[in-house]
């Protein structure tokens, strides 16, 4: 094969290859840049917040409130969060409903709290204002299971 290409044309080819490769590299970097590093979010009138410190006691009270409310408004979900193996006779929804009906859940006051951590889980063992014992096993805030012991 003979090539009828002048020196000038070789230079144009080389230049074009460099330009095209450069453009494709830039395109690749641009469209695959999913998570741009952001170092600052500029404040405006609407996008600020005030940080509120939540104590362990406060969080315990939130769990108690949340679960007692769930029993009232959606006992199916409350049963899903209940550790079935904790009380062996409460393995059905009906048995659970009967059991919680007999509990006095009117108080969400945390009378006593024992908090500890084991591995990834945090445990909030609570005695409420009516002396019910409830333990929340938590793996991530608001991701909990419940045990009446």
């Amino acid at each position: 094969m003979d090539a009828e290409i002048s020196k000038k044309e070789y230079s144009i080819i080389a230049l074009l290859i460099i330009i095209f490769v450069g453009l494709d590299v830039l395109l690749y970097l641009f469209i695959n840049n999913n998570d741009k590093v952001i170092n600052k979010i500029e404040k405006n009138k609407y996008n600020t917040y005030k940080s509120t410190y939540i104590t362990v006691d406060k969080q315990a009270s939130i769990y108690l409130n949340n679960y007692y409310n769930l029993i009232r408004i959606d006992s199916k979900k409350a049963f899903e969060k209940f550790e079935k193996k904790s009380l062996s006779h409460l393995t059905t929804q009906e048995a659970f409903d009967d059991y919680v009906k007999k509990m006095n859940l009117s108080s969400t006051v945390v009378k006593k709290l024992y908090f500890h951590k084991v591995g990834k889980n945090a445990y909030y063992s609570i005695i409420d204002g009516n002396d019910n014992k409830v333990t929340f096993k938590v793996n991530g805030v608001m991701n909990y299971t419940v045990d009446f012991r």
């Binding site: 094969m1 453009l23 469209i31 979010i41 996008n47 991530g140």
Partner: protein
């Protein structure tokens, strides 16, 4: 057989077009999820809940400019959003007493001061005599600047959150 300049030029242009199409078609949408963790700090969690409540209240007020000002700049740019079309991307909750109730939340550190939160929960309407869940499956992404106490929002239809959750439950 002789090779001419125009033949080489044609081949180069075809290769360039082919490579460009390949890059666009094989766009990498996959996120690196390995740095994502579950939020286990209550203060961090409720700061994000308060931010999401602000976002929900602004949408409830039907105020386009407020919503526009809390959306993430990059999201605005990519979607071509302006103050007039913002509600095409943000759901409006037209009820006087809406609030957000959070479920499990995940986060990743984007830079020294910025965390990105993957949020799920429900939008509920609470009044003296009534309680109603308006949206059982609400999702959003929140960027929080801890140093500046500022935030921005990336609306999510649940696709990103579910992808993150699937990875976390592996």
């Amino acid at each position: 057989m002789k090779i001419y300049f125009r033949d080489i030029l044609l081949v180069i242009i075809l290769v360039f077009i082919g490579a460009t199409i390949y890059i666009i078609v094989n766009k990498n949408d996959k996120k690196d999820l390995s740095n994502i963790k579950v939020v286990d700090n209550s203060t961090q969690y409720y700061n994000v809940v308060s931010v999401v409540n602000k976002y929900v209240h602004y949408s409830n007020e039907d105020d386009k400019s407020k919503i526009f000002k809390i959306l993430d700049d990059d999201y605005i740019y990519k979607k071509g959003i302006d103050a007039s079309n913002v509600f095409k991307y943000v759901r409006k909750y037209s009820d006087g007493n809406v609030s957000f109730k959070g479920d499990i939340m995940y986060y990743e550190k984007i830079s020294d001061n910025i965390n990105k939160y993957y949020v799920s929960g429900q939008i509920e309407s609470v009044s003296m005599n009534d309680y109603e869940i308006i949206d059982e499956n609400f999702y959003t992404i929140v960027l929080v600047d801890n140093k500046n106490s500022s935030f921005s929002i990336i609306p999510d239809d649940g696709k990103t959150f579910k992808e993150v959750e699937k990875w976390m439950l592996k």
